[in-house]
Every structure is written in C-alpha cells, then in structure tokens.
C-alpha cells in the first residue's frame, strides 16, 4: 500500500470509528433537513377558499383553475355573512347568467387576487362565447422550474452547512490530534512528503463530503419531501467541491492555530455557526435585512449555498459559475496560504 493510501485510510478510520463524529456528520444535519422539510412541505401549496352558491360554467371554470378552493353554501345570504364575519375572504353566486361577487376589503391583497381570478375567468368565458380568436395571448409560466417545492431550497442550505461543518472539523481535529499525539513528528521522521499527508486529508474530506451530499439528496428525494434534481444541477458540482476545499482550508487554519481538540472544536464552531445563520441555512437569506445580506457576502458558505441553489433551483446557465467559483477559489488560496504559514509540526 502506498503512503498516500494508508494515511488516507488511517484518517478515514479515525473518522468513522468515532460515534460522535458520525452523528454530527450525518445524523445532526439530517435532522434539520427532515424538520425543515416536513415543516415547509405544504408551504406555497395553500389554496384560497371562497364561498360558492349555485352552479354554472363560471363556477365550474373557477374550480378548474386549481387556485381557488370552493366551499359550497346553500344561500348567498349565509355565504355573505361568513365573509362579513371574516371567515371567508369572498363569496360568489351564479344563477343562470347572473353572477354575484362579494368580498371583504379588509385583506386587500387577497381580495385583489380573488377578484383578478374571477374577472379573468369571466372574461375568458365571454370571449369564448363570441367565437372570436383572442387578439392578445399571454404566454404564462413561473420563472422557477415547475416542480419547485420548498425542499429544493432547504436541501442546498442544509447540505452546504453540514458539509462545511464536517470539512472544518475533520481537517482541524486530525491536525490537532496528530500533532498532540506526536504522530506528525513521527511521520516527519519517515520519508513521506508533507504534500502526501495534506492531499490524503483533502481526498478524505472530499470523499466524506460526497457521501454526505448523496445521503442528503437521497433523503430529500424521498416521496415525502419530493426533491428533484432538475435543470442545470450538474453545474452545482464544481461549486460544491470548491466549497469543500474552502472549508478544508479553514479547518487547516483552525488546526494550525489550536493546540487542543477542545480549542479546535470551539474555534470551528465560532467560525461556522455565524456563517450558517447568515448564509441561508436556517432561513432564506433574501428575507433578512439588506445589511445582513451584504455582510453574508464575505462568507464562503453564502457563496457555496447560493451557487448550488442557482443550479439546483433556479436552473441558471454556466455563466452563474463565475462568482461563486472565483470567491471560493480565492478563499482556498488565501486561507490555505495563511495556514501553511502558521503550520507547525509540533507544539514548541
């Protein structure tokens, strides 16, 4: 066996023979994925319920839009009372060709939406009745992939975060432990290059990150959550790998600066946790204040997350690779250079 392979194997065994590490690598982030996934599963799919009285082509057409939920009532009086009490946003009655529409103006947005839908349906039916071809046609579809569900947002966030945590901790703890236990000194007495030790750790980190990603994607793709790899998802792979490298470099820096495992995990948490909160792991970044969005731009996690989402969710083309890849590469180079500078083989 080559030195490279046996070192990688030694690191890998140190990793998977530790229950706590396995938990924080796989189970812990998955818990977030599952909780968020279940919590937001039905978000956005909610329909507006409207009271309906009578029957006719308009009522039928409204039901077919799939946007409104029609709640049957025997008389318009009863339905209007419910609207007045705030239990329904609007009610509609069709008797032959006569239509009555009553709405509550208290929620203007919802009232406007329902009015728009009702008007649209009525106009369409009127036009169809004249047997004329419409002069203006609108090609309508939403900008996201049609399969868009909250899980598409949640998975990249939780995945980036989970992978970031594991990469930082893995690199830092190996470095600290091997230095503390004099393994680094001992390796230094063997004819092995420092780069061999380094690359074996890089390969182990990437390998573990890929297993994590596969598990997250696999769980997300379960029917309960319904994640789909759509559009240009393949382009997310380079962003993912560069992200892993950026966090590996941060881990090396933490490991180079800390003497004990306790100090290293503390420092790793201090680095990763704020990033997680400000980079869209736990809540979408575009809902946070502008200054916070600006601040989060300095975090590699933000760019990893955004970059992956660009392809997995927004289906953007390869030009969207540029920014995240550049930022993440810069992180790898700068942080990597600093850690190489402060690295020591032994505690002096």
């Amino acid at each position: 066996m080559t030195a490279f392979r046996s070192l990688a194997l030694a690191m890998l065994k140190g990793f998977y023979r530790d229950r706590a590490t396995l938990f924080f690598t796989f189970v812990f982030p998955l818990m977030f994925l599952v909780v968020f996934g279940l919590l937001f599963r039905d978000a956005g799919a909610e329909k507006i319920t409207v009271g309906a009285v009578g029957e006719g082509p308009v009522i039928t057409a409204l039901r077919e839009t799939g946007v409104l939920e029609l709640e049957r009532h025997d008389s318009m009086d009863e339905a209007v009372r419910l609207v007045r009490d705030g239990d329904l946003p609007a009610a509609i009655e069709q008797r032959g060709e006569a239509l009555t529409f009553r709405f509550a103006a208290s929620d203007q947005t919802q009232a406007g939406t329902i009015r728009g839908i009702v008007d649209g349906v009525v106009n369409q039916l009127n036009l169809a009745d004249t047997n004329q071809a419409p002069r203006y046609t609108v090609d309508t579809s939403n900008v996201e992939d049609s399969s868009l569900k909250p899980i598409q947002y949640i998975t990249p966030g939780v995945m980036s975060w989970g992978v970031a945590v594991t990469s930082v901790f893995g690199a830092a703890l190996t470095l600290v432990n091997w230095r503390k236990k004099q393994v680094l000194r001992r390796i230094r007495l063997a004819p092995v290059r420092a780069t061999t030790v380094l690359t074996s750790r890089v390969v182990v980190t990437i390998g573990v990150a890929m297993v994590q990603a596969l598990i997250f994607l696999g769980i997300g793709a379960l029917p309960v959550f319904g994640l789909q790899l759509v559009g240009t998802w393949v382009l997310a792979v380079p962003v993912f790998l560069l992200g892993v490298l950026a966090f590996f470099a941060i881990g090396m820096l933490v490991g180079a600066l800390c003497r004990t495992e306790e100090a290293a995990s503390g420092a790793a948490n201090i680095v990763v946790l704020p990033m997680a909160f400000l980079s869209g792991t736990f809540f979408p970044i575009d809902q946070s204040p502008a200054w916070m969005q600006a601040v989060s731009n300095v975090f590699p996690l933000r760019h990893m997350n955004d970059g992956i989402m660009d392809f997995l969710v927004r289906g953007r083309d390869a030009s969207a690779l540029l920014v995240p890849c550049l930022v993440l590469t810069a992180f790898v180079v700068v942080v990597g250079a600093i850690s190489a500078k402060v690295f020591q083989w032994e505690d002096s």
């Binding site: 080559t2 065994k13 530790d18 236990k181 393994v183 230094r188 004819p191």
Partner: protein
C-alpha cells in the same frame, strides 16, 4: 565534505561535536560531543531532565541545535534529510500512534510510510510479543504494550541506526528481558543502537559504551566495566547480622571497614579474595552477598548525588 570522507572511513555511525541547545535560560544540552561506531550499542544515562531526549532528537534531525555539528551516517540530519530517513528508526519517548487504529493497523501504516509490506508488520508484532493484541486499539493497550508497539514501529523498516528513547520504561521484568534479546539480535545483525535509559544495571548489561549525562553535559563516557573499574571502589561483602561477630570481621585480612545496620553486617574491602577465603575457612558463607561497584556508584561519584531513577 572532508569530514564525510573521514566518517565513512572510520565506520562512525554518529559523530556529534559540541552541540548546544538552550530553552530560554535553561541549557538543555550544554556542549555534548560523542561518537558512535557502526554496530555499537550506545547508552545515554542520566536522571530526569538531564538532556537525553533533547540530545537524541538533535541527532535524529527532529530539533536544530543552537550550535555544534551532527553527522549521522556521514550526513547532516538537519534540515530534514529524506535520504537519511529510511536508514534510521526512531522510537520517541512519548508514544506516537494514529488515533483509533489497532496495533496491527499502526504497524501497517508505519510500514507503508517506508514502502514496506504488511507481512513485515505481522512479523514485528510477533517479535515484540503482541501477536495476540493485533486487533486491539491503541488506546486499549497497557503502558508496556504501547511501549513494545512503539518499538516495533521503529523497527518495521529494518533501519541501520536505531534510536530508542527509554524503551524499557514501563516494561515488566519478563518483557524487559525479551526486549533485551530483541535488541541484542538486532545488534548482532550489524545495526547501530543508541538508547537512553534510567536503569543503570540494564545499561551495564546491554551497552558497549555508555555516556553518563547530567544537566546537559556528559560527565563520563566509556565501556561500563571501565567506568566502574576507574571508580576503584571497594567491594562490599555482606553477611546476615548476628551470623558473624563484628570484632572478628574487623580483624579479617583485607577488611578495610566494617559497618552494621538492622539486617546486615557489611565489610568493605579492596582484597575481596582474601576476605572471602578467610570467611570460607570459618564456615561463614551462608547468606553471604558480594556487591561490587556499579554504574550507580559511578554516577554518585560523578555528581555527588545519589542516583534516583
């Protein structure tokens, strides 16, 4: 270049000239010179903090001396000299193991660092008597077992020069003797061994030459027997107390001094043959012990302090 030729010529494995290393105000190594020939078994003795480990690590190339020169197999070990590394084997004083690996995996990993196959790793486990612990994790081994594993890791690539920092610390008497056999067998194959120990008796048995170190300096360096002889210390003949009257003892031919304690009566003599034959004549040999000077006495003589391992 010139010294390279000389060293290669006279078969010196290690030549150290006036090395010094200070940590702040403390002179950990304070002008040490020594040379070890190829195939020699060389011991460095001394109490805690004497500078043994520091000296060894400077020779191995793990530390840079503040001044002085080191030649290891004719080359300079500092800065890290990868041509030398496959030829030296090092057991560090604090055992250095990969986290969560078993004894066998430790050896296989170290073997692979030198491009040595797994078969050799199994051989090493047998050699140090750890075959039945092959699948035990490093942190579940006893202190002595860790020590033996650490030595096996130093031997795995069959180095020419072996550095062992207190290899017999924490070993039980049986394991210690087994290790002696292992080390002697290695020496018989022409390998050079540099080792440190606190056990002066052990060094006397194993080493061709020893250096006695204290406070960063070498106080004496020679074959153990020569050091003891040079001390010119009297032989102590010890009898059970009450088995022989003190005035008679003082009157024995060759008896220089007689002392008594709770258990025994001790006769100091420079003519042990005369004392012993006189005692034999009087039938007083039962329970008799003869103690000649040891390295401990040499240490006491050199430092004026009792040796405490």
């Amino acid at each position: 270049m010139f010294s390279h030729v000389i060293n290669a010529g006279n078969g010196a494995a290690v030549v150290v000239e006036d090395i010094r290393k200070a940590y702040g105000d403390l002179n950990a190594v304070d002008g040490v010179s020594l040379s070890v020939s190829e195939g020699e078994f060389f011991g460095i003795l001394g109490p805690n903090g004497a500078g043994k480990t520091t000296t060894l690590e400077i020779i191995e190339g793990l530390r840079e001396p503040d001044s002085g020169t080191v030649r290891l197999l004719g080359e300079s070990p500092w800065p890290r000299n990868s041509a030398l590394l496959p030829r030296i084997g090092v057991q560090l004083q604090a055992s250095s193991f990969f986290e969560k690996l078993t004894a066998r995996e430790q050896l296989e990993t170290f073997a692979s660092l030198y491009g040595v196959g797994a078969a050799r790793a199994a051989e090493m486990l047998d050699l140090v008597g750890l075959a039945d612990k092959a699948d035990t994790r490093e942190d579940k081994l006893s202190g002595g077992q860790r020590q033996r594993l650490s030595i096996a890791c130093a031997l795995v690539h069959d180095p020419d020069v072996l550095f062992l920092d207190e290899p017999t610390a924490a070993l039980d008497p049986q394991a210690r003797r087994n290790l002696w056999d292992v080390l002697r067998a290695i020496q018989e194959r022409g390998k050079t061994i540099l080792y440190t120990t606190h056990y002066l008796d052990e060094a006397e048995i194993l080493c061709d030459r020893v250096a006695i170190m204290d406070r960063g300096r070498i106080l004496a360096m020679d074959r153990p027997a020569a050091l003891v002889r040079g001390l010119d210390a009297p032989t102590q003949v010890r009898l059970e107390r009450g088995s022989f009257p003190r005035p008679d003892a003082e009157a024995l031919p060759g008896a220089d001094q007689v002392s008594e304690d709770e258990q025994s009566l001790t006769i100091s003599t420079r003519r042990p043959a005369d004392v012993l034959s006189a005692l034999a004549d009087r039938g007083a040999l039962d329970g008799l012990q003869v103690r000649t000077a040891t390295l401990e006495d040499v240490f006491l003589d050199l430092t004026g302090r009792e040796y405490r391992a």
